[in-house]
C-alpha cells in the first residue's frame, strides 16, 4: 500500500498541532507589512489544526497573484497553478482522490475575473472543495490596477477617469452559480475567519469564502475593513441562511453596504442537504467507491482491456 490510509472525512478528529502547517524553514512571506493575506494563512493553519488534519492530507491549489503565494507559505501538498485556473485543477484532484482535503485559493481578479467561468461552473457542480477568494478590491501584484471588485468610480493607472463599471457581486454570484456554502470574512477578524474556514472545510460541497484582505500598499484609500459586523452576532440582521431568497436579499444588501463603508461579514448561505458532485456522481455509478488514485498502486487491481470491447466492431 503506497498511501497512508485516508481517514473518514466525517469522523471526529483530535486537533493536531497547527505548527505542522508552517514549513520547516519558515519563509519570509513576500506580502507587505499589514497585508490581509497573513490573516488567511493564519486562519487556514488554525482551521486545519483544529480539524485534525495533517499536511499530507491537504492539497492546496492556488492561482496567481499575491494570493497565489499562499501555497508557498503553507506546508502541505501544493499546486501553484495558473491565473484563474485553480478550480479546475482542484476539482479534478478531488475526484481522483476524494480522500484528499482540497482547498483552492486565489484573488478577486483570479476568481471573479479571469477565472469567472470556472467559478460559476465549480459552484454549479457543487464540488466538495473550499474556495478562498482573497478580496482586496484591487490588483496587487501588478501594482494597483482596478479589479473586478473595485467600486464604481475607482481610479487607477489603467482607469484614470475612474471605473465606469459596477463591481462584481461575489456572494450573489456564488449563490446563483450554485454554491452550497457562502460566507464572507475579513483578515481583521481572525477568530471569525478561522471558524468560517473550519465550517467551509467541513462542508460537503462547494464552500465559497469571500475573504476581505486589506491591501495597505495599493489600496490605501480603501478601508481596513474595520469596523466589521458579524451578521450572526448582530441583532440588526435576521435572516435564514438556509433560505435561498432571504440569503439572496441579504447578500445584495451586504455587497452594497461594503461600498458605503459598512463591512458586514458572516455566513450568508448554507444548503447542508444538497449532495456534493462527488456524491451525485457516485450514486449514479460514475465515480468509483474507492479513490481512483489508489488503484494505480494496487498490484492486484484488474484493468479492463479494449480487446473486450471489440464485438461492436466485428
Amino acid at each position: 500500500m503506497s498511501f497512508t490510509p485516508l481517514r473518514d472525512d466525517d469522523a471526529e478528529r483530535e486537533p493536531t498541532d497547527k505548527s505542522a502547517f508552517t514549513p520547516g524553514i519558515e519563509p519570509q512571506a513576500t506580502w507587505c507589512p499589514g497585508c490581509g493575506d497573513f490573516g488567511v494563512l493564519k486562519a487556514l493553519k488554525g482551521a486545519m489544526g483544529d480539524l485534525g488534519y495533517t499536511p499530507e492530507e491537504v492539497l492546496l491549489v492556488t492561482g496567481i497573484g499575491c494570493s497565489g503565494k499562499l501555497s508557498s507559505y503553507f506546508e502541505s501538498y501544493g499546486y501553484h497553478s495558473l491565473h484563474g485556473r485553480a478550480l479546475p485543477i482542484a476539482r479534478a484532484a478531488k475526484l481522483a482522490n476524494p480522500g484528499l482535503e482540497v482547498v483552492a485559493a486565489g484573488g478577486d481578479g483570479d476568481g471573479y475575473g479571469i477565472g469567472g467561468n470556472h467559478f460559476i461552473h465549480t459552484a454549479r457542480e457543487n464540488h466538495d472543495l473550499t474556495y478562498i477568494v482573497f478580496n482586496n478590491e484591487i490588483f496587487g501584484l501588478t501594482k494597483g490596477q482596478t479589479s473586478p471588485t473595485s467600486p464604481k468610480g475607482h481610479k487607477s493607472k489603467t482607469q484614470p477617469h475612474g471605473s465606469a463599471k459596477d463591481p462584481v457581486r461575489p456572494l450573489s454570484l456564488a449563490l446563483v452559480g450554485g454554491a452550497s456554502y457562502v460566507a464572507r470574512t475579513a483578515a481583521v477578524n481572525p477568530n471569525q475567519a478561522q471558524e468560517i474556514l473550519k465550517e467551509a472545510i467541513q462542508h460537503d460541497g462547494f464552500a465559497h469564502v469571500d475573504f476581505l484582505t486589506q491591501c495597505p500598499t495599493w489600496n490605501k484609500d480603501a478601508k481596513q475593513y474595520v469596523p466589521y459586523v458579524d451578521v450572526q452576532q448582530s441583532e440588526d440582521y435576521d435572516f435564514d441562511i438556509t433560505d435561498r431568497r432571504e440569503a439572496s436579499a441579504m447578500m445584495h444588501d451586504v455587497e452594497d453596504a461594503l461600498h458605503d463603508g459598512e463591512v458586514l461579514t458572516g455566513r450568508f448561505y448554507h444548503a447542508p442537504d444538497r449532495p456534493s458532485y462527488g456524491a451525485e456522481k457516485r450514486a449514479q455509478g460514475d465515480l468509483p467507491e474507492d479513490p481512483l488514485a489508489e488503484r494505480y498502486f494496487d498490484d492486484d487491481a484488474d484493468w479492463e482491456r479494449s480487446y473486450d470491447l471489440l464485438d461492436a466492431h466485428r
Binding site: V61, R85, A93, A293, Y296, R305, L309
Partner: protein, 629 residues
C-alpha cells in the same frame, strides 16, 4: 484499376448516410473483403450534401481511391429552399450533381428518381454517354413507402446495390439482424428483397462486380478515433475531461462512454482551459489522464499545456485538426495545426508530439504517449486529423489483443519516498532529488496523500522543492534538466521499434516525405509509381517532437529529390524538416492540399511526376518547388 468497388452513397446530412455506409462496410468486411471509408459532410445537422465512400477489395485497402465507380444518389430530405440557390446552388440536385466529377469511366449510377431529376443537371445525358456510365433510375422513396416506411429508402438503395454488383443480401441481413428488433428488421429485410428484385429487372449493362475474398484472421472495423480511445484505455487512462468540438468529439464520446464503466471518470466541463486543467489535476493526484480538442479548443489549452511542462505534470492531450484558421471548416480535414501543437504556449516548448499514420498506429502511439508522459513527466500531444478520426478500416483484431499497461511511470511508493532525498526543511525534493535519474532529466514524483512526499508544483520557476525561485543558476539547472528529457526520449525512441515507416523501392532516387494520416495514400501512390518502373520510396513520419533527425536525414541523403506531402497551405512540415535538419532547402519540393479534402493517390503520383518536369499540380493541390517561399 483493380477489381475494387468504390461505392459512394450520397444524400443529405441527417438522412442516415453515415450509418448506412458503416453497416455496408461492415457487411463487406464480414464477407471477407478489405474495406476503407471516406466521409464528406457539412457542418450542419439537417441537410447539406454529404457522402461516404466505401472502398472494398480482396486485398488490403489503405486509403480512399481516385474517385469512385458506383454512385448511389439518394435525395436530401432537408435541402435548402430553392430561393437560396444563388448562395448554395441547387441542394435538391446535389446528391447527383455534385458526385459526377469523380465518377470513373464505366461507373454505375443508381439514383432515386422519386427525389432527383437529372434534367436539371447540365449535359447529364452527354456526360453519361461520354463516360460510359451505366444509369439505373429507381424510385427508391416510392418503393420504401409502399413496402415499408419512407425512411427505409437507404435500405432500398443498398438492396439495389447488391443486385447490381452481384453481391448476396445475406451479410447485410445478418448485420441488420444484429442491430434491429423484430418488426423493423423484417420490414428492412423485405425492402432489401424488393429492391433487389426491381434492380434485377433492369438489363445490367455494366461490368462491375463486387470482388470476393476471405480473411484468415479475426477482423474489426475501426476508426482512428477508436484507435486513440482504445490505446488510452489499454494504457490505463481512467480520466478524460473535455468540451465537445468536431472532430475531437469522437474520442471524447468513446472515452466518456467506456471509462465510467471501467471505474474511471469522465468530465464534460465549461471550456477547454478547464478541460486540460482538470486532466492536470487528476494526473497530479495520481491518475492517468487525457484531454483533447480540435484547433480552436486546443488553442485554449495552451496555458495548461505550458503549466504541465513547467510543473512536469504528465498528461496526454490529443488534437484532432480540421481546416482553419479560426472556426475554418469544422468538418473538413487539414494538417494546418502542426506548428500550433509544436510551439503553442509561452517559453521554450518541452513536449512530445506524435502523429499516427493509421488506425493501428493511433492505438500504438496513444499507448506510447502515455508511457512517455508518465515516465518523463511532460505533456505528450497526439495530433491527428478529421480524416483519420472518421476513416473506418478493417484491422486485425490481434492489434488490440494486448496486456494493459497501467503503470504510473516515474512515481514513488511511500517506501521509496522514505529513502529519497529531502530538503533540510523536511520537504521532498520533487524536482531533482535523484542524481541517477536526473541524467535523463527525470526526477520521480510523489503523489498527494503519500506520507513524506510533500512538495509544491509551481508554474513559476522553482527550486528542487518546488518553491518559487528566480536564482539564475537554479534556473539554468532546472531548464537544462527539463529539456534533457527530450534527448532521453529521442534515445528511447531510437532504441525501440521506429515509428517512421519507409515504403517503396530499395534504391530510390526520388523520395516522398509525409507525416500523419497521409501514410496510406502515399503508400498506394508509391506502389503505383514503382509498378510503373520509377525508383520511388516514401518515409512517413510520426515522431514530430523530438524529431527523428537521424532517420529523416538518412532518407533524404538516400534520394536525389524529395516531395513533401502535407495537407496545409504553407508547408509547415517541410518547414519543420528544414528547421530540424538545417539543410535540404534545394531538395525539398512541396505538394500541398488545403481544400478540406484528403489527398487521392493520383495527386501524389502526379506530384512526383512534377519532380521530373511534368505538370505536378491537380485541381485540388498546389505544388511549390524547392527554393521558393
Amino acid at each position: 484499376m483493380t477489381g475494387e468497388i468504390a461505392w459512394r452513397i450520397a444524400g443529405g446530412s441527417g438522412d442516415g448516410i453515415d450509418s448506412t455506409s458503416q453497416n455496408f462496410a461492415k457487411a463487406l468486411m464480414r464477407s471477407g473483403l478489405h474495406v476503407f471509408t471516406h466521409r464528406h459532410y457539412p457542418s450542419r445537422i439537417r441537410g447539406g450534401h454529404t457522402y461516404v465512400e466505401v472502398r472494398a477489395d480482396d486485398e488490403p485497402v489503405r486509403a480512399r481511391g481516385d474517385g469512385f465507380n458506383f454512385l448511389l444518389a439518394l435525395g436530401d430530405s432537408f435541402a435548402r429552399n430553392p430561393k437560396e440557390d444563388a448562395y448554395y446552388g441547387n441542394e435538391q440536385a446535389k446528391p447527383l450533381a455534385e458526385n459526377l466529377d469523380d465518377l470513373r469511366e464505366g461507373g454505375v449510377i443508381v439514383y432515386d428518381e422519386g427525389l432527383l431529376d437529372p434534367s436539371v443537371i447540365d449535359d447529364f445525358d452527354e456526360r453519361v454517354a461520354a463516360n460510359d456510365w451505366h444509369v439505373y433510375p429507381m424510385d427508391l422513396r416510392g418503393l420504401a413507402r409502399e413496402e415499408g416506411r419512407e425512411v427505409m429508402r437507404n435500405t432500398a438503395g443498398v438492396g439495389a446495390t447488391c443486385a447490381l454488383l452481384d453481391y448476396p443480401l445475406d451479410p447485410i441481413k445478418e448485420l441488420m439482424g444484429d442491430r434491429m428488433g423484430g418488426d423493423v428488421y423484417e420490414a428492412n429485410s423485405h425492402i432489401l428483397d424488393v429492391a433487389r428484385g426491381r434492380a434485377n429487372d433492369f438489363d445490367h449493362t455494366h461490368d462491375l462486380r463486387m470482388p470476393t475474398g476471405e480473411h484468415e484472421t479475426d477482423q474489426v472495423l475501426v476508426s482512428g478515433s477508436n484507435g486513440i480511445a482504445y490505446g488510452a484505455i489499454d494504457a490505463g487512462c481512467r480520466f478524460v475531461s473535455g468540451y465537445p468540438m468536431t472532430p475531437w468529439t469522437e474520442v471524447f464520446t468513446l472515452l466518456s462512454q467506456h471509462l465510467p464503466e471501467m471505474g474511471g471518470i469522465a468530465e464534460q466541463v465549461e471550456d477547454e482551459i478547464a478541460a486540460a486543467a482538470l486532466a492536470l489535476g487528476a494526473s497530479h493526484a495520481g491518475v492517468k489522464a487525457l484531454s483533447g480538442s480540435s484547433g480552436g479548443g486546443f488553442a485554449l489549452m495552451s496555458e495548461p499545456l505550458g503549466l504541465a511542462e513547467m510543473t512536469e505534470t504528465p498528461v496526454v492531450l490529443v488534437e484532432a485538426t480540421r481546416a482553419g484558421p479560426s472556426t475554418g471548416m469544422p468538418t473538413k480535414t487539414e494538417q494546418g495545426d502542426l506548428e500550433h501543437v509544436l510551439y503553442t504556449s509561452q517559453g521554450d516548448s518541452c513536449r512530445v508530439v506524435l502523429a499516427p499514420g493509421n488506425q493501428a498506429e493511433a492505438y500504438e502511439q496513444t499507448r506510447l504517449a502515455f508511457e512517455i508522459a508518465y515516465d518523463f513527466h511532460l505533456p505528450v500531444v497526439v495530433v491527428y486529423d478529421q480524416k483519420l478520426s472518421g476513416e473506418l478500416r478493417n484491422v486485425d483484431a490481434a492489434v488490440f489483443d494486448r496486456e494493459p499497461s497501467p503503470d504510473l511511470g516515474a512515481a514513488l511508493t511511500e517506501e521509496e519516498l522514505s529513502e529519497a532525498a529531502h530538503h533540510a526543511a523536511g520537504t521532498f525534493e520533487r524536482y531533482q532529488h535523484d542524481a541517477a535519474s536526473a541524467a535523463e532529466g527525470v526526477s520521480p514524483r510523489s503523489i498527494p496523500g503519500q506520507a513524506g512526499g510533500r512538495f509544491l508544483a509551481s508554474g513559476n520557476e522553482h527550486h528542487p522543492t518546488g518553491h518559487i525561485s528566480e536564482d539564475a543558476d537554479n534556473r539554468v539547472t532546472q531548464m537544462d534538466r527539463r529539456l534533457r528529457k527530450l534527448d532521453a526520449i529521442r534515445e528511447r525512441l531510437d532504441d525501440g521499434d521506429t515509428n517512421q515507416v519507409r515504403h517503396g523501392a530499395a534504391d530510390a532516387t526520388v523520395g516522398v516525405l509525409t507525416y500523419g494520416s497521409n501514410q496510406g495514400t502515399v503508400h498506394e501512390a508509391v506502389d503505383r509509381l514503382v509498378a510503373d518502373g520509377h525508383d520511388v520510396a516514401s518515409l512517413s513520419v510520426s515522431d514530430l517532437m523530438p524529431f527523428p533527425a537521424t532517420e529523416v536525414r538518412e532518407f533524404l541523403d538516400s534520394v536525389e529529390r524529395c516531395l513533401v506531402v502535407e495537407m496545409n497551405a504553407s508547408g509547415q512540415f517541410r518547414g519543420l524538416v528544414q528547421r530540424e535538419l538545417g539543410a535540404y532547402g534545394d531538395v525539398l519540393h512541396s505538394l500541398l492540399k488545403y481544400n478540406g479534402e484528403p489527398f487521392e493517390p493520383h495527386e501524389i503520383v502526379e506530384g512526383v511526376g512534377g519532380l521530373d518536369g511534368g505538370d505536378p499540380a491537380t485541381a485540388g493541390t498546389r505544388y511549390v518547388p524547392a527554393g521558393s517561399d
